[in-house]
Amino acid sequence: MSALFDYHALAPELILAFTVMAVLAVDLMPVPKYYAAVTGLVGLFASIIPLLTLALCSELSFCSDNGARLLFGDSYVVDTFSLVLKGLFLVSAFISLLLAVGYVESDRYYQGEYYFLLLASVFGAVVMASSRDLISIFVGLELVSGPAFLLAGWRKGDARSNEAALKFFIVGVLSAAILLFGMSLIYGVTGELTFSGIRAATVGGELPAVFTLGVLFVLMGFAFKVSAVPFHFWTPDTYEGAPTPVTAYLSVGSKAAGFVGLLVICYSAFANMRDIWGPALWIIAVASMTLGNLIAVRQTNVIRLLGYSSIAQGGFMLAPFAVASMVEGVELEGALFATVTYLLFYAFMNLGAFGVVMAGMSKVKSAELSSWSGMAQYAPGLSMLVVIFFFALAGVPPLAGWFAKLVMFQAIISGAPNVWAVLLGVIAAVNAVVAFFYYAKVVKTVWMDSVPVEIPAAELGGSGLNPALALALGITAIATIVTGLFPGVLSFFGEATRTFASGF
């Protein structure tokens, strides 16, 4: 460790940590409730600023060194890859917070600590993006999931919320234990904690079988976190039972954190173990997209539908990985670019979709698809948003999703002559069609079906949208449309992360 502590590199974390504490303090002061939320929003915004100064370091006069900054003996790395992902976490936290403000404050279970826990979880995700050793990434992951368990059970008197939290907690603890056991086996074999050290220790030479076991345990641990099939069974119940803004955060923020952990650990620590994690990820990717989609088709509840669809989308994100690791000659950079780009687009679309669900629930008091029928007749604006987000998730041009699907297929096809790559491409294509079917079903119900008779006409329309929710919907809708027309806006960031893979 150098004598000078690199405060610039750690500035986003420091500001965010300060914000977490400030939110807690503001909540105790005799000020209006929304001050805590505003503090959180300002803090998130403030911690994005050092991300920009770090990214543009070479252009600025006060900033001297360039490139990746290695801190704490290679345990903590601040490079363009981690900066892009930190940006993703902070922006999606910003939107999740906006989604939550109206919901939490109108709820009878209002407590200001909601914002504290949400921001603490985001802090964990930000730490994970830079972690390059086993201890840091595990601690970061625990900080992501710990507060999330509590948030899922926020509605204390609601049995389904309790069930959501308990399932999430038990599965989360089990997966953490498996992950940690795998990590300890890897440390036992290599004697190294940093990813670069593990990679160096596994070059050539025979490794004992216990190392393979360790790698598989680590994969299983992360597969639980990203709710990949067959480790997905907790997801739909947790998504449905948890308060909807929490579900939105789980399906984007905490899921993305799991993906980042998986990406980083596979690419950097297990770079020489491709023949172990490649086939495992291939199976997980195929199972996730197929099972997720097939079950989603039969869902009658919009939140459960989005839950299963997020499992399927996770399969799409893993697909480029699986191909790049199984086919000789395919560069990992392409797969990394595809997965990160998919993640960036998915974050906006999915947060927006959950925002629409929240707005819809404030109108008809139900997330059952049947009660949403004919919504276009009394809420045309909201129904337009349903079209935007659900078609974007389905990948209909010119909305954002098509580009994410395009780069995903490009990455798969780059391994084309190989049987496994072709097979995966075909399965992914079939799944994209199946997915379109159920996303379109929601749009059809909202626009084409007639209003259910049992709902009294006076109750329809409901109250106007909460301003924070409207702002969140506006941001995500604009992002979905603009990045669909000009995908370069977001894929530029995906492009920047290629340097991470090319470093090896």
Binding site: E113, L117, L143, L150
Partner: protein
């Protein structure tokens, strides 16, 4: 085998390991929560003795203080404060089919992990290098200061979240007035 038996430490190991195995079995089979927790104390105590045989004193005291001293006491407090029913409970059991499945999975995992561990480390000797508390402290506040600080936030979040979930609803308090 003759060599193995001549070493006194191995006898200690065998005795402790057998006792631990039985205690661990009691943890999952006991139909009384408090008995299960006490069996867990014995299991963790056994693991502390194993670390002592390996010469890792610091880990021993960590296990005793943190696991036995704090975590188990927390379990007992949890049982006490939530007014969970004490004593034998028939519902604290699974149908035989589930039990058989659990036994198969646990046995398979034991064989898999045991075999691979012996395969990897079976012939290695434990070198008696002493790691002092001072060394650990220097590492903790040097290279690992960041995860150390993050852990403090994990604990704070768990503490505050626990209080939030456990305390009475603000609405309920108003109702009572």
């Amino acid at each position: 085998m003759g060599d193995w038996l001549s070493e006194v430490a191995n006898w200690w190991f065998a005795a402790v390991a057998l006792a631990m195995g039985y205690a661990a079995y009691r943890v999952v089979t006991s139909a009384n929560v408090v008995h299960a927790v006490l069996a867990l104390v014995a299991t963790l105590g056994g693991s502390a003795v194993l670390f002592l045989l390996l010469g890792a004193e610091f880990v021993v005291w960590t296990v005793v203080l943190v696991y036995i001293g704090a975590v188990i006491v927390l379990f007992l407090f949890g049982i006490m404060i939530t007014r969970a029913p004490l004593g034998y409970e028939a519902e604290l059991d699974h149908p035989p089919k589930t039990k058989a499945l659990a036994a198969i999975v646990a046995g398979a995992m034991f064989l898999l992990i045991g075999w691979t561990l012996v395969d990897a480390f079976g012939t290695e000797e434990v070198t008696a290098s002493v790691t002092t508390v001072g060394d650990i402290g220097l590492q903790l506040f040097g290279r690992f200061v960041l995860p150390f600080e993050v852990v403090s936030l994990v604990l704070l979040a768990a503490l505050i979240g626990g209080i939030v979930l456990a305390r009475q609803d603000p609405v309920d308090i108003e109702d009572q007035r």
